[in-house]
């Protein structure tokens, strides 16, 4: 497996506003069947106040990447390497106690299923207060409670003074996720990682939660990493996008550019498999053929080549023998050997660029 030699030079210049900088992150899990390379050389930056959308199929490594940022693989049998710099501090090498200070304070996380992510035996208020008090050891119970009630009312929970004493099972799904957002934001984190925060919710509630996150982001100036397989969510709230496939980033760039001119055939596939209102209704969606690759035995060459309809456009059998690095295409990057001329030809025939919805976000 080739390493990502290009990452340092290809990523955005390290300006002062870069909050999180991940370099060549690898998370491998030894199993009886072999080494599972869940994340294999991923690099990206997130600036303060900006939102990065991480998309990909199940098993593409998006959640594992973000759990690594939280240090959730420590103490497991996972083998990790690379650098995760948060404000210049390497989270991969900080002590366990320093990591605990950072968790929940500087980096907070929202999970997919708020019912299972909240402890069933404690009240919602108790759990939020716990998150506050662990990072404010001097705060007494009353302060923590007031802060919690304030936070609950800011995330739009009606009658927070009463609801603070409710148990998670007494909340609706949307309310639970609001409570999770309140818990994550109570310590004004610099970075908020949202792991499929709206997947378990129904559509109207999804929009509310996203809107809430955007509003609070403006207020707290936090950076957000949102993990999702819903491109609509990315289009709504993200500034940048990273598409993951087989444990690696296959395309990175600005959301507007990427949706308008995607560079990687996998991204084309993702966009084509999304229902569109601005096109003639098709009988069926176009799924990407084939299955996600095995993370133990990735295909040789480009991991996507067995499913790629355009591999024959690349001369020779380069796609199946040589692993593409992240090539720069203007401000975008993609792991693909196709030239811009090839892309133009494909776009002419198969693709219709996606207009950014609304245009004002």
């Amino acid at each position: 497996m080739t390493t990502e030699t290009s990452s340092l030079t290809l990523d955005k210049a390290q300006g002062s506003d870069v909050l999180l900088s991940v370099r060549d992150l690898r998370v491998h899990f030894p199993t009886d069947d072999g080494l599972v390379k869940s994340v294999d050389g991923v690099s990206f930056d997130v600036a303060a106040g900006k939102t990065l959308g991480v998309v990909g199929e199940s098993g593409s490594g998006k959640s594992v990447t973000n759990q690594a940022i939280m240090g959730l693989h420590r103490g497991t049998n996972a083998r990790t390497s690379g650098e995760i710099l948060l404000d210049g501090e390497d989270l991969m090498s900080v002590s366990e106690s320093r990591l605990r200070q950072l968790r929940g304070k500087d980096v907070a996380m929202i999970f997919q299923d708020p019912l299972s992510a909240l402890h069933p035996y404690y009240t919602v208020g108790n759990q939020i207060m716990e998150a506050y008090r662990v990072h404010h050891p001097d705060a007494n119970r009353r302060e923590a409670r007031e802060k919690t009630i304030d936070m609950l009312s800011r995330v739009g929970i009606p009658n927070p003074k009463v609801r603070v004493d409710s148990y998670p099972h007494e909340f609706s799904g949307g309310m639970r996720q609001r409570a999770m957002v309140a818990m994550a934001l109570i310590n004004d984190p610099k970075l908020l990682i949202a792991d499929e925060p709206t997947t378990a919710l129904d559509v109207t509630v999804q929009a509310q939660i996203l809107e809430l996150m955007v509003d609070l982001q403006k207020e707290f100036h936090s950076a957000i990493i949102i993990i999702t397989h819903d491109l609509g969510v990315v289009a709504d709230i993200a500034d940048d996008i990273m598409v993951m496939y087989g444990g690696r980033a296959v395309e990175k760039g600005d959301v507007f550019d990427t949706f308008a001119r995607p560079k990687h055939p996998y991204t084309w596939g993702l966009l084509k498999s999304m229902p569109r209102l601005d096109e003639v209704r098709k009988e069926k969606l176009d799924p990407i053929p084939g299955n996600p690759p095995s993370l133990i035995n990735l295909p040789t060459g480009c991991a996507f080549h067995p499913r790629c309809a355009y591999r024959d456009m690349v001369p020779g059998s380069r796609c199946s023998t040589e692993d593409p690095q992240l090539f720069q295409f203007g401000k975008q990057q993609a792991r693909c050997f196709l030239t811009e001329e090839d892309r133009a030809a494909v776009a002419e025939n198969d693709m219709k660029p996606v207009e950014r919805r609304g245009g004002d976000k």
Partner: protein, 337 residues
């Protein structure tokens, strides 16, 4: 909550009624004439008939059951003969409520037989309970936290070894070596707690250890499984992501969820043991309820057998009720209404 307890108490009483009825049916299904046992070698057909009449064994089953229930509520006299009570009050055995019957074989009410024995069985059960909860649950937690490591395999294996030995073997081994040969403890004997607590404990320790070792294995495995299940829950990831310390995560978040199901099991086991442990009491020669049960069953002492069964059932039903109420307190999702 109050209404729930009342309703549960009510269903518990119904259950006890049914159990007593079933026991009575068994009583009559046996090929033994209970009146035969009232006089032993001196029996003549006339005497048997007289005793059967005096103790009510000649009445229809359902009437006898009614008499028994009446005795539980208001008490009974044996024999229930108003005329005899006036002329020879010393011949009447009064059995105050809750009366569990009269054993002609032992010439004593079942209550009087049980009274000195219940503290013995209860003491063994409680001390064993403390031991197996501390070690069984403790080992289970340690094994789960060291999953797959040496300590995990060692503790689970150790528990399994004790589990595989019959309790009479462990009991005899402890008695023979620990108490008699090496004299590490005194010879096990029962001293009432109120008389001398230290002696109470030292006399009980070996029978309690015997019981605890056998039960410990189940608890180690059960606890290990529940802790592992709890460790895989999403809410533990949330707790970690909040920045909580390992200790807070373990005690506040993991164990609270993991140990709740153990409460159910522990309550039932304690209730069953409080109703007497046959083998352990036999090995250490403790005059507990278990020994009485064996005696009664082997000598066809039917009234005593019925009484013991009712007592045991009451223990189980009451402990079930307590466990259910506790569950409602521990787990807020349990609806009490």
């Amino acid at each position: 909550m109050f209404a729930y307890i009342i309703r549960r108490l009510f269903s518990g009483v119904i259950m006890l009624l049914l159990i007593s009825l079933v026991t009575f049916i068994l009583f009559f299904a046996t090929p033994v004439n209970p009146a035969q046992l009232t006089c032993g070698k001196n029996c003549t057909p006339a005497l048997i008939e007289q005793n059967a009449k005096a103790l009510g064994y000649d009445k229809p089953m359902i009437v006898q059951w009614g008499d028994f229930l009446k005795g539980v509520v208001v008490g009974r006299d044996f024999p229930d003969d108003k005329a005899l009570a006036k002329t020879h009050p010393e011949l009447i055995a009064h059995c105050p409520a809750p009366c569990l019957g009269y054993s002609p074989l032992n010439s004593a009410t079942v209550n009087d037989e049980l009274k000195p024995r219940i503290p013995v069985s209860l003491s063994i059960a409680v001390v064993a309970f403390v031991l197996w909860m501390i070690f069984g649950v403790g080992f289970g937690i340690i094994a789960a936290l060291r999953r797959g490591k040496f300590l995990d395999k060692f503790l689970v294996g150790l528990a399994l070894i004790f589990y595989s030995f019959p309790s009479f073997f462990i009991g005899l081994f402890l008695l023979q070596f620990v108490a008699l040969k090496w004299q590490l403890t005194g010879v096990p004997a029962y001293t009432p707690l109120t008389q001398n607590p230290a002696q109470w404990l030292s006399g009980l320790i070996l029978p309690a250890v015997t019981l605890a070792l056998v039960l410990m294995a189940g608890y180690t495995r059960l606890t290990r499984a529940f802790v592992l299940e709890s460790l895989g829950q999403d809410y533990l990831r949330t707790a970690t992501a909040k920045g909580l310390s390992r200790r807070a995560i373990l005690f506040k978040h993991t164990l609270r969820a993991a140990l709740t199901p153990i409460v159910t099991q522990a309550g039932l086991d304690l209730a069953i043991l409080a109703g007497g442990t046959i083998i352990t009491e036999q090995v250490f020669n403790f005059q507990g309820v278990g020994k009485l049960t064996v005696q009664a069953a082997t000598t066809w002492d039917l009234p005593t057998t019925v009484g013991v069964v009712i007592l045991l059932s009451t223990f189980v039903i009451v402990s079930n009720l307590i466990v259910d109420i506790l569950y409602g307190v521990i787990d807020p999702r349990v609806k009490r209404a």
